[in-house]
C-alpha cells in the first residue's frame, strides 16, 4: 500500500463569525489548503467534509458550491469531537486503498456560545441537575477528580494546564485568544464544575481547517515532496466496555486503545515524538491524556505539568498552538486544525512557537459518545 502524505494544509483564524455560513468557513480553509500546495479543486478526486452540528445538511456539497462543483464524490462525517479527524482518516483510507491519488479533507463548525451537553431532554422531564450533571464541564470534572482520587492530583495542577496553553496561544496569531492567564487568574475565575473554572474550559469558537492528502507517486509527480509530511499512523476507536462507562464517560480506555493502535502502526513509541496536539477540551482532560498517550507513567501527570516538560522548550511540548483551551474548539474543525499545527512544525514553518528540530508529531482528539482518533505525522 502507498504511503500517504499531507501536501497542503491551512486553517482560518478561529473566532466568532455569526454572519457567515458553515460552508463559507469550510470553503475558505479549503482554498487556503489548496493554495498551500498550489493546486485547485479540479485536481481533487474526492472531498471528505467533517461537521457535527449540521450533520444532515450536506456541508461538503455546499462547500463545493463555494469553490467549484466538479462532481467529485463527497463524504460527510459526524463523529463527536473526532469529526474532523474522521474526515481526514476517511481520505487517508481511500488513498491507502488505492481508490484515489489525491483528496481534500475539510473540517468546519459554527458553535454559538454557552454550555454543551446536559443530561436528558426527549421524553418526560429534563434530568440535568436532577440525576447529576451531563454538561461537558461536569463530565470532564469527573474525569479530573477520578485522577485526583487515584493519585492526589490538585486543583492547582489542573489549572497550570490552562496557564501553559494560554501562554502558548500568545505565539499563535490563528488562536482565538492571545492573552496570558496567570495561575491566580485561572484558579480565581468563575467556578463552572469543580475543579474546572471558566478559564479551564475550551472556547466555543467558529472555525475551519483543511488538508490535501496525496499518494507518494502523485506527490512526486506534482513535485510536492519538499514540504510533504507523511502520515505514519491513523487510528480510530470507539469506547471499549468498562464498568463505569455508562454513568461516567470513560475517555481513558478509548484513548489508550487508539494510541496503542497508532504506535503499533507507526512502529514508534511516545519517546519518538517531538510534539503533541492533544484534546484539552478542559484542563482536567490534558493531564489524563499525558498518561493515556504514554508520555509519562500512570500517576505522573501532575508531576509532569509541575516540571514544565510539556511547555514549549520542554522535553515534549504539548498544545503549542494554544490548544482547545485558548486556540478554541470548533468541534468539526479541531481534528484537522491539529493536523495543520503539527504539519507546520514538521515543516519548520511555525515561527515564534516552532518546536526546534521537530520531526515526528502526534495529534489526538476524543469525543463524547465516544470516539477517539490518533494520527502520527513525520517529516521525511
Amino acid at each position: 500500500m502507498t504511503d500517504v502524505y499531507v501536501v497542503g494544509t491551512d486553517m482560518i483564524k478561529f473566532g466568532r463569525f455569526p454572519e457567515r455560513s458553515v460552508p463559507e468557513l469550510g470553503a475558505q480553509a479549503a482554498l487556503m489548503a489548496l493554495d498551500d500546495c498550489g493546486l485547485t479543486i479540479q485536481d481533487m478526486q474526492a472531498l471528505y467534509s467533517g461537521n457535527l452540528f449540521e450533520a444532515s445538511g450536506g456541508v461538503g456539497q455546499r462547500i463545493l458550491r463555494e469553490i467549484g462543483q466538479t462532481g467529485i464524490p463527497v463524504v460527510n462525517t459526524a463523529n463527536a469531537c473526532a469529526t474532523g479527524a474522521t474526515a481526514f482518516r476517511e481520505g487517508w483510507m481511500a488513498i491507502k486503498a488505492g481508490v484515489y491519488d489525491i483528496v481534500l479533507c475539510v473540517g468546519s463548525e459554527q458553535m454559538g456560545t454557552g454550555l454543551l451537553g446536559g443530561a436528558g431532554g426527549g421524553k418526560g422531564i429534563p434530568t440535568e441537575g436532577l440525576l447529576g450533571s451531563g454538561t461537558m464541564p461536569s463530565v470532564f470534572a469527573h474525569v479530573g477528580l477520578e485522577h485526583t482520587r487515584k493519585y492526589g492530583t490538585t486543583f492547582e495542577q489542573f489549572a497550570k494546564v490552562s496557564v501553559k496553553n494560554h501562554h502558548h496561544s500568545t505565539l499563535n496569531a490563528k488562536a482565538m485568544y492571545q492573552k496570558e492567564t496567570p495561575l491566580e487568574e485561572v484558579m480565581g475565575a468563575e467556578m463552572i464544575s469543580y475543579p474546572n473554572t471558566k478559564l479551564m474550559c475550551s472556547v466555543n469558537v467558529d472555525g475551519s481547517a483543511a488538508a490535501v492528502l496525496c499518494s507518494e507517486k502523485k506527490a512526486k509527480e506534482l513535485g510536492l515532496m519538499k514540504r510533504a509530511v507523511k502520515v505514519r499512523a491513523s487510528a480510530l476507536s470507539s469506547d471499549p466496555y468498562t464498568s463505569r462507562n455508562i454513568a461516567m464517560m470513560d475517555f481513558n480506555a478509548v484513548t489508550r486503545l487508539a494510541a496503542k493502535t497508532a504506535y503499533e502502526m507507526a512502529g514508534l513509541g511516545p519517546n519518538d515524538l517531538d510534539l503533541i496536539e492533544l484534546h484539552d477540551c478542559f484542563a482536567t482532560a490534558e493531564l489524563v491524556h499525558y498518561e493515556n498517550l504514554g508520555l509519562c507513567k500512570d500517576g505522573e501527570a501532575g508531576r509532569m505539568i509541575d516540571s514544565g516538560e510539556t511547555q514549549l522548550g520542554g522535553r515534549i511540548p504539548v498544545n503549542v498552538s494554544g490548544g482547545l483551551l485558548s486556540k478554541g474548539h470548533p468541534l468539526g474543525a479541531t481534528g484537522i486544525a491539529n493536523i495543520y499545527e503539527v504539519t507546520t512544525h514538521l515543516r519548520g514553518e511555525a515561527g515564534s512557537r516552532q518546536v526546534d528540530g521537530a520531526r515526528i508529531g502526534l495529534t489526538h482528539v476524543v469525543g463524547a459518545g465516544s470516539a477517539c482518533a490518533v494520527h502520527i505525522l513525520e517529516k521525511v
Binding site: 441537575g129 450533571s133 469543580y194 464498568s243 463505569r244 455508562i246
Partner: protein
C-alpha cells in the same frame, strides 16, 4: 375513566427506575450469566462479553460508595446550583450518576468512598401535562 394528573401515581424519571407494580420503587439492573458483570438497566445483551442468552434482570442495591463527584456551580437557566453530581458504585455492582443531597457542596466536605444510600423522592419537576415524577437521589448513609 381517565385519571387526572393530580391524582395519578408519579411516573419514573428514567426507564431503569421502576415505580409501577407492587412493592417499593427499585433500580433495575442486569447480571450476565456468563461473565458476571452487573450493569444498570434492563438489558438482554451483555456489553462486556456479548452474551445474549443468560442475562438475569435484577433489583440493584440501595447502598453503595461514592466513587467520584463534582460540585456544579454553573448550569442551564432554571437549574438550581450549586449541587453535587455524584458517581456511586452500588454494593453488588452497577454504577450510577445522580445528585448527592444533604452534604455541603464543598470539596473539603466530600469524601471519596463515603457510604451512601439511594433514596426515592419526588423530582420536584413536572412535565407539560402536569405529571409528577419520582427520581432517585443519594444521601450519606449515616443520615438515611
Amino acid at each position: 375513566m381517565s385519571v387526572s394528573a393530580d391524582t395519578a401515581p408519579p411516573k419514573s424519571v428514567v426507564p431503569f427506575l421502576k415505580v409501577k407494580g407492587e412493592g417499593a420503587p427499585y433500580l433495575a439492573g442486569s447480571k450476565c450469566g456468563k461473565c458476571g458483570e452487573v450493569v444498570v438497566g434492563t438489558r438482554d445483551v451483555c456489553g462486556k462479553c456479548g452474551n445474549r442468552t443468560s442475562l438475569e434482570h435484577i433489583k440493584l442495591a440501595t447502598t453503595g460508595k461514592l466513587y467520584n463527584y463534582t460540585v456544579v456551580h454553573r448550569n442551564f437557566p432554571g437549574v438550581p446550583v450549586p449541587f453535587i453530581s455524584a458517581i456511586v458504585d452500588l454494593d453488588g455492582g452497577g454504577t450510577l450518576k445522580g445528585n448527592l443531597l444533604e452534604v455541603e457542596p464543598d470539596p473539603a466536605k466530600i469524601k471519596f468512598d463515603m457510604p451512601v444510600k439511594v433514596v426515592f423522592r419526588d423530582a420536584g419537576r413536572k412535565d407539560k401535562e402536569g405529571n409528577s415524577y419520582l427520581a432517585y437521589f443519594f444521601v450519606p448513609a449515616n443520615k438515611a
